[in-house]
Symmetry: C2
């Protein structure tokens, strides 16, 4: 199957959470953890990967938090997935198969498939998902209201 790590899911939810929230003030990590129910320390770690990838922008100090670094329509799902996955496995030494069959057929086949999926993910932006959320009836009011249920 296509396995995405929990970290990637987290990153996706966090970015959309911030994008969906239209407040002028930045969104604090604490709010997101309250909504998603994940340990705050772990989420901050993921957030910083997103900051380093140029997707989020951190604002320090009191009343600080995170904000999108670009417009919603300029951030693709592929960007987020890459930022989350590509963080620690820098080795990327693809176990090259010895057999001709493996090297010439199944490896290229898998690579092509991966590229196709990635292309598909690059075509979908955070903007698209936000519109979908609105269409699905997730109201901004409920969203913001839950900020105070900490």
């Amino acid at each position: 199957m296509l396995r995405l790590s929990r970290k990637t899911l987290l990153a996706l939810e966090a970015v959309i959470d911030i994008a969906f929230n239209a407040r002028p003030e930045p969104v604090q990590a604490r709010e997101i953890t309250a909504r998603q129910g994940v340990p705050q320390r772990y989420l901050e770690q993921v957030m910083q990967q997103l900051v380093r990838a140029g997707i989020l922008k951190g604002v320090r100090g009191p009343r600080g938090g995170y904000r999108l670094a670009k417009e919603r329509r300029r951030i693709s799902v592929g960007d987020i997935v890459r930022a989350a996955e590509l963080a620690e496995d820098e080795n990327t030494e693809d176990v090259l198969p010895k057999s001709e069959l493996g090297a010439r057929i199944v490896t290229p086949f898998i690579q092509t498939l991966q590229e196709e999926v990635m292309t598909r993910l690059e075509a979908i932006t955070v903007e698209d998902l936000c519109q979908k959320a609105r269409a699905a009836g997730v109201s901004v009011d409920d969203h913001i209201a839950s900020d105070f249920t900490i």
Copy 2:
């Protein structure tokens, strides 16, 4: 990224290896390990998953080995991937996100993507990959000749 486990790659290569080899006698695990350079014990484990999934058929005793359980065009890549992946993770307890945004938007989005990829994989058969191998110039003679380099 779309991460496939080594086990899945192995399963794919093994099945295609057997399918590409047109001999009447079954193919032994030992031959495949010699060609792919993988530990024999591990490969046998993968092979048995494929047997239980109804993709391969094991033939015991001397001159035994593995054979396709069905025609080449009736075995899809999706079948093989499912058989290899779905073996040990029977838990499948999808970590359901608490937030509305996660539950209503990103989870369905990911699921749809997974289903699309799976549908895509079901449409490609072992027969297709064998034809591709022949077109790519992987000769059957070389393939069989390597049987005796053990």
